[in-house]
Symmetry: C2
């Protein structure tokens, strides 16, 4: 049986994110999983995701780290609560701040591996450290401060 990603557990109405929504047919559809105490996503950029020929554009790297961070935050919140990810109410996080350090040019045409570690959980806030590697080489580091989504965003029509 194939393992379900964090995003597969998002409620349908919150599953349209361009970066990681399962239901956004135009989006990146990032998938994130536990790997022991780390989280991992793998994404292979499209040819048009270039900065200059041969290299990935920085905005995509920021997007991957962003969505990897918020999904890691949600998964960590379930773990902290000793709850399965298919239980109610759902945890969904938004980004309060994003820091990306571009350490070396990221080659285009190979899978990028994004790994996350939870640095801190405090109340509704989760801080996630992330790395992005290509061909085993560290290309970027990120820090995502994620906060639990306000109720008014979860239910915009109420």
């Amino acid at each position: 049986m194939e393992q379900k990603s964090f995003q597969d557990y998002y409620p349908d109405e919150l599953n349209y994110c361009y970066g990681c929504g399962r239901l956004n047919e135009h989006g990146l559809q990032l998938k994130t999983y536990w790997d022991n105490d780390e989280t991992v996503s793998v994404y292979t950029p499209k040819p048009h995701h270039m900065a200059i020929p041969g290299y990935v554009y920085g905005g995509l790297i920021a997007s991957l780290i962003d969505c990897h961070g918020t999904s890691t935050a949600a998964a960590a919140a379930y773990r902290t609560d000793n709850r399965e990810m298919d239980t109610e109410p759902p945890f969904r996080f938004v980004t309060a701040s994003l820091q990306v350090d571009y350490l070396k040019p990221t080659p285009l045409g190979v899978p990028l591996e994004i790994r996350g570690k939870v640095k801190e959980i405090k109340g509704r806030k989760v801080i996630v450290e992330a790395t992005l590697t290509a061909n085993g080489e560290l290309c970027a580091k990120g820090l995502v401060v994620a906060v639990q989504m306000p109720e008014k965003m979860l239910k915009p029509n109420t």
Copy 2:
């Protein structure tokens, strides 16, 4: 005569960036201009650029601030050198680090205005502060540390 954007001056071979390349038909094609001592770009997200219905996804905001920052850095470098943007050699910058603070949810469906100010120019490095507003409200702030592109990236085949 319509004013040319910074990106219109990029050499063709460096004009394929997904965020701001004039020649990337799949990309965002961000255009940036001087407005006195500030720089300004306006971009209206597509409906699929959502985080959840009604709101823009954070990765797009990071992408816009990123490309706004590197184009501002290039324009500032020409100004500092008292050179027109169509003179050789071209200035092109890459991002060393990107910080985005998401201050409030960014509504989808309206133009986003990104404004930049050069905070510091030192050697090959330019630091740009940016704001992103929607409907006149500040939704995000950014800081881009841009560095002049290494020559080996400018001429990958040499």
